[in-house]
């Protein structure tokens, strides 16, 4: 992999933590809808569990890095939303409110892992080393991405809801086969990676999620299903998608499901690491339901006042993932004013860079679109490209004639 990814190196998950999460998943399967949470809404830390002990032992440097990611992506998101308002983007899909779910899970992955996002996973993109300006290409109408999925292990966004989920399972089946073949050749497969499939509460109703879970369970594929339940699918509340807590569905497929407080970055991190470790160990898939909230509109084209109450929005603002983590870092003496000021300045710089990037992007031409319809030469595409060139060339004449007219006019 060409890019050095900014993943956090934590020690292996201790056995006791493993057991605790297994017990949690088991409890969940028994129908208790307990949520894994470490930070309360005021940033208070729930000590007294193995999970808590393990998180307590985390390196302060890594904790600060996690916060930095969350704050940076929030700042970037604000800038992108503004850029859309100013007509520089045709659309933006805000992630505000989901920073902990995205940074916590993204930071739990390793460079050799491969992640399949939907379209709101800008925070995950950051943890995978995706140049954030590249996200803007998509929403400016320049390309369908811009980053190299193979370099970053971060797939292109997929706008057809849930369609990427079976891809994730297939990719994980490929990882299994790679490992089996290396072993058959007498080689050490090392850690060939695991896969994370991101999707929303709305997408969870799609048949592709069901089929993916069946395949993943049957083949014990090393894949983590990461569902961000942000309570809404545009205007439709999560209760319309599922009458039971979503993570409980895992039980029906025969693998563990866990609900984690998606606004608690430490809990999300720990649970995702556990699920990935489990997948790497050949124990098959896990469904994580990150219980969170979309603080903003569905997209910049949406008006949430049409379908949800401001009381609800206020309640969730009190659970804000970024300020909650900030409160924790301050209370623990892990970060001080200087640190937060530094992060804010870095965020502003990132925002300024996004604004500058957007104007520097080269405009695409329709001609580019002919280039990769097929990987191998195709007569129809070649014929239509030739026609298109000739047609456009006809206008070049007109344009130069018009230019000449104008020049003449100016000369008159």
């Amino acid at each position: 992999m060409g890019v050095e990814l900014p993943t956090t190196e934590f020690s292996d998950i201790p056995d006791e933590l493993w057991l605790e999460l297994e017990a949690h998943a088991h409890e969940a399967a028994e129908g208790h809808s307990a949520v894994v949470r470490l930070l309360d809404e005021k940033g208070g830390f729930a000590a007294g569990s193995k999970l808590a002990d393990a998180v307590r032992a985390l390196n302060p440097e890594d904790l600060r890095a996690m916060y930095r990611d969350m704050a940076m992506i929030r700042r970037f998101d604000i800038e992108a939303t503004a850029l859309q308002r100013q007509g520089q983007l045709s659309l933006w899909v805000p992630l505000r409110g989901q920073e902990a779910a995205q940074i916590g899970s993204g930071r739990a992955t390793q460079p050799q892992d491969y992640l399949f996002p939907t379209y709101r996973e800008h925070g995950v993109a950051l943890t995978r080393g995706v140049e954030l300006g590249e996200l803007l290409r998509l929403f400016r109408g320049l390309s369908n991405g811009g980053w190299d999925p193979r370099e970053t292990g971060f797939h292109l966004y997929t706008l057809v809801l849930a369609a990427q989920v079976p891809h994730a399972v297939g990719y994980a089946m490929g990882i299994q086969r790679d490992a089996a073949r290396a072993e058959a050749r007498g080689e050490d497969p090392g850690d060939p990676g695991a896969v994370v499939a991101y999707f929303g509460d709305g997408a969870s109703s799609e048949g592709d999620v069901h089929e993916s879970m069946v395949f993943a369970a049957s083949f014990k594929a090393p894949v983590v299903f990461f569902c961000q339940n942000n309570q809404w699918a545009i205007s439709v509340p999560a209760e319309v998608q599922s009458r039971i807590p979503l993570f409980n569905r895992a039980k029906g497929y025969g693998f563990p499901g866990v609900r984690v407080d998606g606004n608690d970055v430490l809990a999300v991190y720990a649970v995702t690491q556990w699920a990935l470790a489990r997948a790497r160990a050949g124990k098959g898939p896990v469904l994580i339901e990150a219980y969170t909230y979309r603080q903003g509109a569905h997209t910049t084209a949406d008006d949430p006042t049409k379908y949800r109450l401001s009381d609800e929005e206020r309640m969730w603002l009190e659970r804000d993932p970024v300020s909650r983590f900030e409160a924790y870092l301050r209370a623990e003496g892990i970060a001080d004013d200087a640190f937060f000021a530094d992060v804010a300045a870095a965020g502003d710089a990132l925002a300024a860079k996004a604004r500058a990037d957007i104007l520097s992007f080269e405009a695409p031409s329709l001609e580019d679109a002919f280039a990769n319809v097929y990987a191998e030469p195709h007569p129809l595409v070649a014929e239509e490209l030739a026609w298109h060139r000739e047609y456009e060339a006809g206008f070049a004449d007109t344009e130069s004639a018009v230019d000449a007219d104008r020049a003449q006019e100016g000369g008159r």
Binding site: G170, G174, P379
Partner: protein, 326 residues
């Protein structure tokens, strides 16, 4: 040169591909232990193992979707859809994902997935087992679609599809699975390019273009027309996307008359595409309008009447009569 049925030729093609490239995998419903409902994959699981010849859960979107994921990881999956009428649960994955990923990624990603679909009627089957949905896929850029009409092509096209860096759908003429023919397993000969049409019979008065299951019917119609003193050229289109228009147009420029025959309904079908291309490129060569022979605009009918629905020798001859009457 060995003689084999089309089904056996596909089986042999799959075996050669599996043996020649470790990244080739087969996936589908009942393809492993059973060897497929038409036994096309018979023996392959015991030869290459369940890890490479995978009996999948019963879910077409899952089959295509996981095949896409496997291809992103460097594999070359061959997905079998059990019958034509059951490809639709996988239609979304084929058209919105498989067909587009190469373009969406600006060429960074390739998805060399092959999809095998037995298609067409004439086997007296129940609903959804006799359809010809090829035009629905041909309309989608990013896919390649081929269909063999004989055992030699079946053997080679299967391997060519797997070797292609593009996604390829192979529509297999299921009522011809038991049609025998010689297969040169050493040399594809004129079948080296799966996207080229073949002139199977030369003629001077009219051209009949057909593909897949109707190729033997078109040849028989040409034979019958010869008895009436009409010299009919027969083209096996072989590839539905891309279409080898050059071969078709060269023929029409010679004969001046064209009949296109397929089992699929004529409305919005491949025949219409060929007719419009020919009228654009060879208008002055035409002695008559291009005439289409195909299914009617209705759901595929019940088996007891399918012989009246499916184009047969007489329907092609009737179309030729019309072409000659201009």
């Amino acid at each position: 040169m060995p003689t084999m049925t089309i089904a056996k030729a596909i089986n042999a093609g799959l075996r050669t591909a599996l043996a020649g490239d470790e990244s080739v995998l087969l996936m589908g419903e009942d393809i492993g232990t059973l060897g497929g409902v038409y036994r096309v994959t018979e023996g392959l699981k015991s030869e290459f193992g369940g890890d490479r010849v995978i009996d999948s859960p019963l879910a077409e979107s899952g089959i295509i979707g996981t095949s896409i994921g496997l291809s992103l990881r460097g594999y070359r999956p061959v997905a079998e859809i059990q019958f034509d009428g059951f490809v639709f649960p996988g239609f979304n994955q084929i058209t919105t994902q498989l067909a587009k990923l190469h373009a969406r990624s600006k060429g960074q990603l390739t998805v060399p997935v092959t999809i095998r679909i037995p298609y067409g009627g004439g086997i007296g089957s129940v609903e959804h087992h006799s359809e010809s949905p090829e035009a629905l896929f041909a309309h989608t850029a990013g896919l390649r679609i081929i269909t063999p009409s004989n055992a030699h092509d079946a053997y080679w096209m299967t391997q060519q599809a797997i070797a292609s860096e593009d996604p390829v759908i192979v529509f297999e003429p299921k009522r011809r699975y038991w049609l025998k023919g010689e297969v040169d397993t050493e040399d594809p000969g004129t079948s080296a390019d799966p996207f080229r049409a073949h002139v199977l019979r030369e003629g001077t008065d009219a051209t009949v273009v057909a593909y897949g299951p109707l190729v033997p019917v078109a040849l028989a119609a040409a034979e019958a027309a010869a008895e009436d003193g009409r010299s009919v050229e027969v083209i096996d289109l072989r590839s539905i996307s891309p279409i080898d228009f050059d071969t078709v147009i060269a023929s029409v420029e010679k004969t001046g008359r064209l009949v296109v025959a397929h089992e699929a309904p004529t409305f919005g079908g491949i025949g219409g595409e060929i007719a419009s291309r020919v009228s654009e490129r060879a208008f002055l060569s035409l002695e008559a309008p291009v005439i289409r022979v195909g299914g009617f605009h209705m759901p595929y009918p019940v088996a007891k009447v399918e012989e009246h629905y499916l184009p047969d020798i007489d329907r092609i001859l009737e179309a030729l009569d019309r072409a000659f009457s201009y």
